[in-house]
């Protein structure tokens, strides 16, 4: 393992920003830290970089404990959300700043700066002032500056957050290409679930300073472990209820008993059901189906989102694909159903 975090805790006053967090990152891996505000994801990055000291726990980089090292002595680099480009230095001087600190000779420095700028598509921008660049160009300078020292580990704090939507997707692809090219491990903090799923080899979901789920994007999306992950990733419906002891799951909110494909643990109190896995039926006369009234319809471009009230009072988010024709009207009664495999029992 390149980086290994063991029992990391950090407290700010009364709030526990990191709560005995364990996490290992392999060399060359792209890991995203996903979480809402206050989940501790940014704190975790700052603790790894050395800007905050952990209260307890270990940070091992290639087996070496980083805790006693100040930020400037840690062999990793960080890309900041605001990019943090030095306004008094040119683009080239910004990029060569770290090389200069390492005592790299001038001609070698110039060569590597040129190389790094070319890598991010900014050839010939070296003489400019960072303040005269567009947001996307500044983002690239920050990336070049962080990568020019060829770190084995790069920390990225919301690197796409300040870009507009179109640029964000393209830059995301470029980011991943750069990661493959350099072979560095990337740990990227984001609050954007699509970004996290699209870019990462593995997604780590944080909540309240704890790691609540860790896995490949598809696994985390398809098999959310907790209510929080189910809701945070893709806005799954969380159906509260109790196992009926015969392989079913009583869900009073829907007024039916759910029939999951997998065995339900006796202490399970909720199942996740993704909006896009729910289909329209002619009649709600089979297992895993129900009748409901459409309370609202929202057009989202590639599909529509229906809010459907079940007879038991639960309000479900239901996807309605464009190719299924116009969505039902508000106030109409519809029958909905899903495959047994769409139901995911949640742990907590």
């Amino acid at each position: 393992m390149l980086l290994s975090l063991q029992g990391l805790s950090k407290r700010f006053g009364a709030t526990l920003a990191l709560d005995h967090l364990d996490l290992a990152v392999a060399a060359g891996e792209f890991l995203t830290l996903l979480g809402g505000s206050g989940s501790g994801k940014s704190t975790l990055l700052r603790v790894i970089a050395g800007f905050e000291a952990a209260d307890s726990g270990k940070i091992l980089l290639e087996g070496r404990d980083l805790a006693p090292l100040p930020p400037h002595a840690r062999p990793l680099n960080m890309m900041f959300q605001s990019y943090a480009l030095f306004p008094h230095l040119s683009v080239a001087d910004n990029v060569s700043y770290g090389l200069k600190r390492d005592g790299v000779a001038k001609p070698e420095r110039a060569r590597r700066v040129e190389q790094a700028l070319a890598m991010v598509g900014l050839e010939g921008f070296g003489g400019r002032s960072p303040q005269k660049l567009s947001g996307g160009q500044r983002q690239r300078v920050a990336l070049a500056r962080a990568l020019v020292k060829r770190p084995r580990l790069l920390l990225l704090d919301e690197p796409l957050g300040a870009l507009d939507a179109n640029l964000r997707e393209r830059t995301g692809f470029e980011l991943r290409a750069l990661q493959r090219e350099t072979g560095a491990a990337f740990i990227m903090v984001t609050h954007d679930q699509q970004e996290a799923l699209a870019l990462a080899d593995r997604v780590a979901v944080l909540e309240g300073g704890r790691l609540v789920q860790l896995g490949p994007p598809r696994a985390v999306y398809d098999q959310p472990a907790t209510r929080f992950v189910a809701g945070f990733l893709g806005g799954a419906n969380v159906l509260e209820g109790m196992p009926d002891g015969q392989g079913g799951f009583d869900c009073p909110g829907l007024g039916v008993t759910l029939r999951p494909a997998v065995a339900i643990p006796a202490d399970c109190r909720a199942c996740a059901l993704r909006p896009e896995r729910i289909a329209h039926l002619a009649h709600a006369d089979r297992p895993n189906s129900f009748d409901g009234i459409v309370e609202d319809v929202a057009f989202r471009g590639d599909d529509s989102l229906l809010l459907v009230r079940a007879s038991g009072g639960a309000l479900l988010r239901v996807g309605h694909a464009e190719e299924d024709g116009p969505p039902p009207e508000r106030g109409s009664r519809i029958a909905l159903g899903w495959e047994a495999a769409a139901l995911v029992p949640l742990h907590s």
């Binding site: 400037h72 002595a73 960080m78 943090a84 700043y97």
Partner: protein, 278 residues
């Protein structure tokens, strides 16, 4: 209201900046005369450039101008050197401490200027506190000539003008982005390197303002050199005072004042450019 405000500003400038300057300029090209007031206005006695030619050719006046600039430059540099760590410390202090610390910085202003200079005289004179303590400790046998010396002059300047340097620096440093310093550290810069390569260069506009705020009033200062400085300190403020009130040569004094203003405009332009370069 929106039209009135610039008008008020214009009136203020006209009344308190342009008009006095005009009076001084007219005085400078008047001829000296016996009587009250001790000059003939240009439209009575004719335009005279004698005062300017005297001030520019007599080594005494040129020296006093140079001395003033040197002392002011020295005082401003000293203030800047001391103010920088103070301002940086203020920005790094806990927020609850910042108010009291700023208050302490401004506390000397609550006492009059002359009593504070008087206190320095009391401390530094031959029978003063410093010499008495040193003598009683047996460290010296005869009093040190502390008062009426260059160190005493600069001590007084530093004491009087330090807050003027700390405040603009504090304002500039407290607006800096701490993430820039973190980025520098992340790229391998030690705390000292961070300071010299990021914090200091970005504080140059604030430092320029601090330097000017000390330099300009210090150049015309005459009380501190008179009361603490070595005898005959060639400072223009002192010479101006003597010309006006002792020699009663108003045209010469006015010409000297105009020259001082012209000399001060050069560094002001220079520092303004430094301040707005970014």
């Amino acid at each position: 209201m929106r039209r009135l405000l610039p008008l008020a500003g214009g009136a203020w400038l006209a009344g308190f900046v342009a008009a006095p300057l005009l009076v001084v300029l007219v005085l400078a090209i008047s001829t000296a005369a016996e009587g009250v007031p001790p000059f003939d206005l240009p439209w009575i006695g004719g335009i005279s450039l004698d005062a300017f030619s005297l001030v520019l050719t007599d080594g005494f006046y040129v020296e006093s101008l140079g001395g003033a600039l040197l002392v002011a430059g020295g005082a401003a540099t000293l203030c800047l050197l001391l103010a920088f760590p103070m301002a940086l410390g203020l920005t790094r202090a806990r927020p609850t401490w910042r108010g009291p610390l700023l208050f302490a910085l401004l506390l000397p202003f609550w006492t009059g200027f002359l009593p504070r200079i008087g206190a320095w005289i009391g401390l530094l004179r031959d029978e003063g506190w410093v010499n008495t303590v040193l003598e009683n400790l047996g460290l010296i046998s005869a009093p040190l000539p502390l008062l009426y010396s260059w160190p005493a002059l600069f001590l007084g300047m530093l004491h009087a003008y330090l807050p003027f340097a700390v405040l603009p620096l504090y304002a500039s440093l407290s607006r800096r982005d701490p993430v820039l310093e973190e980025a520098a550290a992340d790229l391998g810069a030690t705390p000292w390197t961070v300071f010299f390569s990021v914090t200091l260069p970005l504080a140059i506009p604030g430092a320029a303002a601090a330097f000017l705020l000390v330099f300009i009033p210090a150049a015309g200062e005459y009380v501190i050199p008179e009361l603490l400085g070595p005898p005959g300190t060639p400072m223009v403020g002192r010479v101006l005072w003597q010309e006006f009130f002792q020699n009663r040569d108003w045209p010469t004094a006015a010409a000297l004042a105009v020259l001082l203003l012209a000399l001060l405009l050069a560094p002001i332009r220079l520092f303004q450019r430094l301040g707005t370069r970014r």
